[in-house]
Subunit: 483 residues, 2 copies
């Protein structure tokens, strides 16, 4: 399968798709008749480049090639995947699908970003609907993992599976609906909340700021990690979900909801919402708000990664996928123990990567070194590990969010219980940013005390020590000296 995607419609959503593909190493061919398309897509791409790569603890592949085309057929030619994100008019979509299908490779698939149409509607006017499925993402597409997948009834199961795998390979979380339904799933929830919110504004119960605060300081942050049902399961306590339902059920018939009594969105209400929204957010441009949103999302998603939960779990899976692709090291040289992008949340008030993150990088590099020599997850699960007892860092140059960095690690000594490592951190241009010398002791995780490493590990370390013996050593060592 080629790694070329066609993006038909390059607005905020199409641009987000383009970024996902490009940053994961795909070539991307864009069709968008808007004369401003290149500028607009460039802005989305700039946002994606500053936020997405740093989500991961492993470098993303080299960025693919981006081309613009004035005919749909040219954009589509040779593509394995076509993502349609044109305006929400069914006649337009049918026309576009016709053009796509006329130039599509036999095994290529089409995803539609539509939120308003069901696959049966999308397929009703086209020559071959068996390649078409809804793949509905959320803004910002380059960060949020979810995609609602709803295949047309004639799409073969194998093609659905292929699509699911492809989306997962972009670091996304495809969720397949069991049956098609108007607005799919998520937007039905959003519509319900939106209706209720309009009434609350109209009736002066709360302002846009107050409603947003109620959401983000309460159930919003809860929903970032567990959804409706898992949250309510906890509320039900040990008695379980059925108990919770028994308690909560009666609320359903409460008479107060205005959910179907849709408020008229007349000029007065539009004006009220707009002016409240201006008071709430008008001091920041949309670009600023986008960056703030992306920074927040990156920081929270990376926090969830530390918990191996929700979005964080998806990111760890992507890390593992990317890590698998790295070649076996040449043990006679310093070993590449890190290759990654500095994430947004590593910046401090001085505007550069915080000093503690240098040790975080070296610590992760040491973990990687341990993994490579066989002190991996299963070794640790068996009850042994290395604990750091001393670290010495030289901070040589500043580095900023978005920079590609790599660490090379040299084994100074690995005999007995001691593991003495010397690492150097470089930027993409080869400039040395920092050095990190670390002394570790092999321990039993049961006694929490020093213990000899397994013979195989010992052997491995001796072998590497021999192979690296000819490498130059740092001029002065700082760890392991007696006071």
């Amino acid at each position: 399968m080629s790694r070329r995607a066609a993006i038909i419609g390059g607005g905020v959503i199409g641009g987000g798709w383009a970024a996902r593909f490009l940053l994961n190493g795909w070539d991307v061919a864009v069709f968008d008749p808007d004369p401003e398309a290149e500028r607009k897509l460039g802005e989305v791409l700039a946002n994606a480049r500053r936020s997405l790569p740093g989500l991961y603890d492993v470098a993303l592949p080299t960025e693919g090639q981006l081309t613009y085309h004035s005919r749909i057929e040219d954009a589509v030619a040779g593509a394995a995947w076509v993502q349609e994100s044109v305006p929400e008019r069914l006649d337009l979509k049918h026309k576009v699908f016709g053009q796509i299908l006329s130039a599509l490779a036999p095994d290529a698939l089409i995803g539609s970003s539509t939120s308003g149409f069901k696959p049966s509607e999308l397929g009703a006017g086209v020559v071959d609907a068996s390649r078409i499925m809804v793949t509905h993402p959320f803004n910002p597409v380059y960060l949020l993992p979810v995609v609602e997948v709803v295949p047309h009834a004639t799409v073969g199961e194998q093609n659905v599976q292929r699509a699911m795998q492809l989306l997962a390979s972009l670091g996304m979380k495809p969720l397949r609906l069991r049956r098609e339904i108007d607005a799919h799933v998520a937007d039905r929830f959003l519509e319900a909340v939106w209706r209720e919110a309009l009434w609350l504004i109209k009736d002066d119960i709360a302002t846009t700021t107050e409603i947003d605060d109620v959401i983000r300081f309460g159930f919003g942050i809860r929903w970032a990690q567990m959804g409706l049902f898992e949250t309510y399961r906890i509320a039900g306590g040990e008695a379980g979900m059925a108990h919770f339902l028994a308690q909560f059920g009666p609320c359903l018939s409460w008479p107060w909801t205005k959910l179907m009594d849709v408020p008229e969105l007349d000029d007065a209400l539009v004006q009220k919402i707009s002016s409240q929204s201006d008071a709430q957010s008008g001091m920041r441009s949309i670009r600023e708000l986008e960056r703030i949103r992306d920074d927040n999302l990156v920081a929270m998603m990376r926090a969830l990664k530390g918990r191996n939960w929700a979005s964080g779990q998806i990111m760890l899976e992507h890390d593992a996928r990317l890590q698998r692709a790295t070649p076996a090291p040449d043990w006679s040289q310093p070993i590449e123990t890190a290759s990654r992008t500095v994430p947004i949340d590593w910046t401090d008030y001085n505007g550069h990567m915080n000093e503690a993150r240098y040790l975080e990088v070296f610590s992760a590099a040491t973990d990687r070194f341990m993994q490579l020599i066989g002190c991996d997850a299963s070794y640790i699960a068996a009850g042994y590990s290395y604990f750091t007892v001393e670290s010495h860092l030289q901070h040589i140059a500043e580095v900023h969010a978005g920079a590609r960095i790599r660490v090379l690690t040299q084994l100074l000594s690995g005999s007995g219980k001691r593991l003495h490592l010397y690492s150097e951190l470089f930027d993409e241009g080869g400039q040395r940013l920092a050095t990190g010398e670390q002394l570790l002791i092999h321990v039993s995780l049961e006694t929490r005390r020093a213990a000899p490493p397994a013979a195989s590990l010992q052997q491995r370390l001796q072998d590497i020590e021999t192979r690296q013996a000819a490498l130059p050593r740092p001029g002065r060592l700082h760890c392991g000296q007696r006071d």
Copy 2:
């Protein structure tokens, strides 16, 4: 005002309130007729103790005293605040309010955790409603900041303001509704989503797992940081909110919603939801799920703290409130530059505080030292700061999430552009956990190069150097040696 709160009803919600007050230094008197009350509240408190203190970068006050009482009047006596969280029966609440009011100090206030009743309903059957307001929190009360505040019509404005300030002093975010309304604000949204979700399950569109995933991988995490309106403002682009409304408005009349067509929660639907929920979460006990939820919330909230946004902003405000209370240092001794609790998200796969977090602690300690000598936010805003050029850490003993730690920092040398510090990290029992030696250089943030400090700062450092000259120095220094 006394710092004593009465908790009437000590279940999950009442227990969460008790934890908020206790951990912020209040004495708490509990009334709950449930014979299991002490055990249940103890479990909530244990959850709170392991998660809440670590949210902050400053130690919370010494925990208050917890007492249990068999009569409401005894629990309430001497309390400045009474929080009512008894079951949602209006006759019961009226009876309880009567008992509370009979023993309440003249200036004390009553908050009700009710989600189902309006203040007018709460006040209708009591002798003095002018002390009663709804203060509706979210589970887990000890972590989520939001409280919906809806005063009874007869509550004086001064008392409402007093309540708002009191809630904020617990690290919460009180949000006052402009008018009372059934279910207040947040639960109206939750009810709308819940109704729609029941239909989706009943009609086999998605399972509980899939619905939860659609939420947490999509709009849920977005809502952890910006709510409905700020998110849609961004979607509207530079054309603004009115443009977005013009686009989105027509959806309101779409005919597909089932929002008022409430599905009957019959045995079949209850069974279906319960068994899907068991398949989704049944492998974990409720206690495990609570801990996972709390760990996730702590990690995300601390991530947002790094962005000074949403919940993170509320936490920073609480840090500032707590920091103000610390006394001026004795400069002839090593200075206390950190006093805090190890947060949950600092633990690594070895089950202890990750090595990089030691440097994070020392880095924050150095920041605090800088702040104390006058290299504070305004000094930095004027374009000067210190950059660390070298760090040496000895990791002496392990430390775990929940531990209280403190750092004492000694000035080794502060002349010219160099700032040479030596810090020691201790646990609560005075055991030394680590040492951190750091060499910093004063820089111009414009040129990013070494520059002399302001005369006032120089003077201050010389003065401290003189005062600390008699202190013993570490046996061996590792930073600032020529290679």
